[in-house]
């Protein structure tokens, strides 16, 4: 087999099967299916070009990292807000989570309220989260990635992943609770 054939055979076996994971992540980062399609095509092109540098058998985190970067490049081109502009790690670090933690415990009625949330509401609240929380939660809950995988995809330390997941969940809960309360009070 020629080296091009070996490359294609390996790419087909290791990278092509993750089209759904790639598309799923792009949809949640870009919040648009048509843009996600464009991003995934671009990401696969980048992945194919740099595939010679990939070692190992588990290509999914590697591919998802490329998809993520491609999505943020597209967002930056559109002059839409990317994670860097929305989020300042220094002022929102782990200390902030620990300090404010106990005070922001959700009450049990709030937790009970959330359980009745339907599909549309859960998706809308997740879509409304700032990008760095949204991507951490999507990678954790939907792609079932480990913290270590998320850290390599997002290129941050594992401690930051943990803190983003914690803060993301907390935000998602309050958003869900406030929309459920609104829904109940308007009777819809």
């Amino acid at each position: 087999m020629s080296s091009e054939e070996v490359k294609r055979e390996r790419f087909e076996r290791l990278v092509l099967p993750h089209m759904d994971s790639a598309f799923g992540l792009a949809v949640w980062l870009l919040r648009s299916e048509s843009e996600a399609e464009e991003a995934v095509q671009e990401a696969y092109l980048r992945a194919f070009r740099s595939f010679h540098g990939f070692r190992g058998e588990h290509a999914r985190p590697w591919l998802l990292g490329i998809v993520r970067n491609t999505c943020y490049t597209l967002l930056a081109q559109d002059r839409r807000v990317g994670p860097a502009e929305e989020f300042n790690e220094e002022s929102h670090g782990e200390e902030a989570v620990a300090a404010g933690a106990v005070l922001s415990f959700p009450s049990n009625p709030e937790a009970a309220l959330i359980q009745d949330a339907d599909r549309e509401l859960v998706r809308a609240c997740l879509r409304a989260l700032p990008a760095e929380f949204r991507e951490a939660l999507v990678l954790r809950e939907i792609h079932e990635c480990s913290y270590r995988e998320i850290a390599s995809i997002v290129e941050v330390p594992i401690g930051t992943v943990m803190s983003r997941i914690a803060r993301g969940r907390r935000r998602l809960e309050s958003e869900l609770a406030s929309r459920m309360t609104q829904k109940k009070s308007t009777g819809t």
Binding site: E12, A22, Q41, F48, V102, A111, Q115, R140, E144, S146
Partner: protein, 233 residues
């Protein structure tokens, strides 16, 4: 460990990401603190709420086709230009010319023979309205190549035809058809995330079908690790 420290580690604990020492310390605190236990329960239910309502969006078929065409090992665009292929085409052309010249013309296939992986196919059914058509396609497929191994993965509204008592548009029960396919070796797999999301009891699924934790993960696995060809219907 106090409440504040526990709170900081609780997400990692629920996600099974803590080292043994951290896990034990959290467990010890939880045993004596009802408030942190309630927080743990809330975190776990938020997780199942999310997993139940937010599934991975499957890539559209045209995107899949395009990516396979560009980067697949059997991409026809690429194969057209492979040197041996050009040599083969030239030889074939010479042979054909010769054959025509001596008056014997054979019709030769345009395509290279399919690889062995084409012998394993996963059908992905995501829509209840296409189930009948998918089963017709499957029947034709089995008639054309009786040795093919087929797994049907049903997901989203595509699981409806595998519910007990489900009927097609002409009022026929699906169960008999499904049983017939099962006897011919077709495997039906139902996405459990879909059941959770749609609040469907697993006992409502016909006994011929088996449950898998996630339809998408199953398809990824079949394609990636077992060499199945993907068909979305």
């Amino acid at each position: 460990m106090n409440c504040s420290e526990t709170y900081r580690l609780l997400n990692g604990y629920v996600d099974g990401e803590l080292e043994l020492g951290g896990s034990l310390a959290v467990e010890e605190h939880l045993a004596g603190c009802p408030r942190c236990r309630a927080r743990e329960a809330n975190l776990r239910s938020l997780g199942s709420l999310m997993r139940g309502h937010v599934e991975l969006d499957a890539a559209p078929e045209r995107l899949r086709a395009r990516l396979r065409e560009r980067y697949g090992a059997r991409s026809s665009t690429w194969q057209r230009w492979r040197p041996w292929h050009i040599a083969f085409a030239a030889t074939s052309l010479a042979a054909l010319t010769l054959a025509a010249w001596i008056g014997i013309v054979e019709i030769v296939g345009q395509r290279a023979p399919l690889s062995k992986s084409a012998g394993k196919v996963v059908y992905h059914i995501t829509n209840s309205s296409t189930a009948s058509a998918a089963l017709r396609t499957l029947r034709n497929h089995l008639e054309a190549s009786p040795d093919v191994t087929v797994v049907v993965v049903a997901h989203n509204e595509g699981i409806d035809f595998l519910l007990r008592g489900a009927r097609d548009s002409s009022g026929q029960l699906y169960e008999g058809t499904v049983r017939g396919f099962k006897e011919r070796g077709v495997d039906f797999r139902v996405c459990n995330n879909t059941l959770v999301r749609r609040k469907i009891d697993s006992r409502d699924i016909v006994p011929e079908a088996t449950l898998v934790p996630s339809g998408i993960a199953e398809i990824s696995r079949l394609q990636g690790q077992e060499g199945y060809t993907y068909m979305r219907l």
